[in-house]
Amino acid sequence: MSDIILPRRRLIAGAGGLVAALPLLSGCDAINDAPVTRKILSMGEEMNRASQRALTDRDALAREFGRADLSPIFRSNGTKLPPGAAYAGHAASGFADWRVKVTGLVAKPLALSMADIRAMPQRTQITRHDCVEGWSAIGEWTGVPLSRVLAAAGLKDRARYIVFRCADRIGDADYYESCDLVDALHPQTILAWALNREALPIANGAPLRLRIERQLGYKHAKYLTGIEAVASLDAIGAGKGGYWEDRIDYEWYAGI
């Protein structure tokens, strides 16, 4: 008898709790924090990722605008100035000694200077930056397509994700982010060193930042120091693939 009642009770607690009564009760934050709730809610992220990947064109381009559409002031967010003497030294020398390491599951690891990056084929695009908070700004970006960099390094077959390492330390760790190969190899995914035809400002990620146009702003890693090809995200940070994903449970797939 208890065999029948127990799962049913659990079902009622789970389903009933989730739908109606919860938000009305003062104890609703306990439900928000319950592991079962978080597990159910995170299905939404997976459904969004899977349906966008399955039902829409994986190579669809984000809208590109004209110069007349540029935001008069391009707002910055997150780190405005990475702390530490090392970064200050790089900034003082115009990032002459800055290196971006390409490592992990690649045939030929690279350490690219800013001159190396500017010598590669470039792409310029006027796109809309969408912050997870809700605001948008339109800017003109110039940089090397990430696909070119990965091709130069020789991506191995086992590589499934690209991890981005950054120089900006926030609290206990340097910022990091990651994406799958669909977005990594997308033609608008570039490592940008110019914003609105000027050298990338420090507040926007100098000397080099990621542009990953079909995802929200926190995916666009700034102050890039490393690009790492991996087979799994399990060993990156706490395993969710990004700084905010690991700390406050932002979605890893930020296409919505």
Partner: protein, 285 residues
Amino acid sequence: MVEPEPPVALPDAAPPTSVPVRVYRHRLPTRIWHWVNAATLLVLLMSGLMIFNAHPRLYWGQYGANPDHAWFAVGATPTTGFVRIGETRIETTGVLGRWTDGEGVEQTWAFPGWATIPTSYSLADGRRWHLFFAWILAVGLTLYMLWTAVGGHLRRDLHVRRAEWSPRHIWHDIKDHARLRFPKGEAAARYNILQKLSYIGVIFVLLPLMIFTGLTMSPGMGAAWPWLLDVFGGRQSARSIHFIAAWLLVAFFFVHIAMVLLAGPVNEIRSMVTGWFRLSPEKGE
């Protein structure tokens, strides 16, 4: 599941006035969708207000951030909270922009904790709730729309007949509503013109508008379906329309509840639970 068909016509002979006539008014799909949707919209509203709190400013056009002009903003001065619509500022201290939470701590988020999911600021969690329940809304609405079209609900109950479109008929119905004079007997079994227009407006206009303006805010969907940006005039316009349409749904909710209360809450709610509606020529419940 076998469902009794709604009566096409009521019995010819007038029933004895002491015995109320019961009609099968709401079929099972309507009842299920109604209650699932009610809970879903509540979660979407409250989690949506949490997301709004992350950037309590609205713009028109493709872009919009702090340096740009916001047509609507909720904010705080060092001592007050306010809402600004265009150039008009309304002080809202205690409710919007500046309020005191359950622990007695003064907060300057736009919407207060009692109105948001979760109660204390978490954009990440608000988005988790919102983007999960958005699926329930979208899938439920799609199924319900298909059912209304195929199952005859649309043709039989929601379809506005030619005679009902006449301004005189509509004006008459408005006057009846304003005088709180509600249909009795047989007429109460059918939707009147204002009801039909409200339900059609919610099911076929407002709810789809919420879904499509929501999708327009997705950078992935903006790339996949760029026509969304053209239809709504940009991501920030879509965000503004999403916000306005949400409050139109709230307005519908309050009118809906008022009508249920005035028309006889027990009978009305019972009919949305069991399907059976009691036609009472005399007083309501």
